[in-house]
Symmetry: C2
Subunit: 300 residues, 2 copies
């Protein structure tokens, strides 16, 4: 693929938009997208505005999308990833490279691979390892599958940051999922820790003691940051951890910690903390503790 | 207390023994202990052997213990801490300093303080922050209560490492408990992480990704160590985390993560991993994964 390449997005939500914005450059023949919500009131307006802004041409069918594109990036919602592959499959052929960028389980990525491979198209699983709005098309990606190296090499010229992890599909998404047990788990642990410790004004001592065990971490600052993430992104994290829990169940492992993380994140949603902070991040865990105390006092 | 001081242990288990061993030194007038199991078959033999080895005189009643001691260290099992205080109380007076070293909740420490303070004796809560067998009488301790400073200053001459955290009772034990949510939680998270990731050979990638977020931690080495701790100490950790969960419930906080840690630790017990490794620590998490696979294959 030395000549200009055409890119298509199956689904044109936030991730697709931020990636597309970075693709208006030499070597890209065109950007096309198909989104089932293009004509939905409200969401459709946002899609059309974002398409205009990023130079993306919106089409009306999967067929049009596939016929206009050599590389297709699937960026639908996680629960629609399999459906998107099936709906595009009838039009795919050996000339296509189909990359699934959705946050889905290793097993589902493998199932989608079978759908795509049956058409003669090459398949790549992608795990996006950081938030797309912050990084755009340069978001760190892990790639898996026999076409992963081709995908990585070809898109590097446009600034994509793709690390090939395996010729087998599954490892990239497994890496993302099992990493998140630790990261989101730590968020949930620190939240429960400060909820309890603050009742005894013991947080500073707890942080000091943790620093003796892990001197490389600024525990107070980490608690401020992570409790804030729970407040702002609790809902999304809960749904992501449900996927992780489901993946563990599918391989015969009881998702004990993963299920608890879902509950701790859902607690934050039910407590109404996001609304209390109007969607912006609290500056410290102490602000969250204070807010909870005020909300509790107001409820009495 | 410039002259030699007499020390008494209420309960003479492992912790008491390792502390007593370090106390055979000038300035200690004598070491006495009362343990209800002194004449129990088996356990009694160990108690008598340890007493002889550490120069501790075993007595037959709480009254004898208290009358022989100026400083009384309560080192019973956690579920007997309140009972021990009540049984010693009738003999305590202003000449006594009573330190509770047991791993119990802040609320229980406060309740014990009331029992002791009513006798005129001074009370100190102690939270031991590391395993006693490894440190002996130099084990790092946090101390709370109005007599904490006196306790710390007086015992420093014998090598005790006591940090006074508050004149109020509760903060020291709260620090230990809420620290353990994070430490034992991380053990449980890493265990669940490698159980899942190993099915996709994704652990190395997960560790690499975690290192980008937390470069101060050697994640592979930490997983090796922590999964090993779960295998060897799962049972004890489960019971300790039940205390933490109960403490959270008592202050109106649902112990979501704490309860999950109990379950993950109990899973390790039920899986029979400790027996499999004959009580010694596995050298790596991989050994644990391999052992589980073999046990599962053997069960089929």
């Amino acid at each position: 693929m030395e000549r200009a390449v055409s890119i298509g997005f199956a689904g044109f939500g936030e991730a697709a938009y931020y990636i597309a914005k970075g693709l208006r450059q030499p070597g890209i023949a065109g950007i096309t997208a198909y989104d089932i919500n293009t004509h939905t009131a409200g969401r459709g307006d946002i899609i059309q505005q974002r398409a205009a802004e990023s130079g993306t041409r919106l089409v009306e069918t999967n067929e049009e999308l596939v016929r206009s594109s050599e590389i297709i990036l699937s960026t639908v919602t996680a629960n629609r990833a399999a459906e998107a592959a099936e709906q595009n499959a009838p039009y795919l052929g050996a000339q296509h490279l189909y990359a699934d960028l959705n946050s889905v389980s290793p097993g589902l990525k493998q199932s989608i691979e079978r759908t795509i491979a049956a058409t003669g198209a090459r398949f790549v699983e992608i795990a996006m390892m950081a938030p797309v709005p912050a990084h755009g098309h340069r978001v760190p990606m892990l790639a898996g599958g026999k076409a992963a190296a081709e995908f990585a090499e070809h898109l590097a010229q446009f600034g994509f940051s793709v690390e090939v992890v395996s010729e087998d599909v599954g490892m990239a998404s497994a890496t993302k999922m099992f990493r998140s047990i630790v990261i989101k788990g730590l968020e949930a642990l620190l939240t429960e820790c400060v909820l309890g410790a603050s009742r005894y004004s013991a947080e500073e001592r707890v942080f000091a003691s943790l620093s003796e065990s892990f001197p490389g971490i600024q525990w107070k600052e980490l608690a401020d940051y992570m409790v804030g993430r729970v407040v702002v992104h609790g809902e999304r994290r809960a749904r992501e951890m449900e996927e992780v829990a489901e993946t563990l169940r599918s391989i015969g492992i009881e998702p004990i910690m993963a299920a608890a993380i879902v509950k701790r994140m859902d607690w934050s949603v039910e407590a109404g903390l996001k609304e209390r902070f109007k969607g912006s991040a609290p500056r410290s865990y102490q602000e969250v503790i204070d807010a909870l105390a005020q909300m509790s006092a107001a409820a009495d």
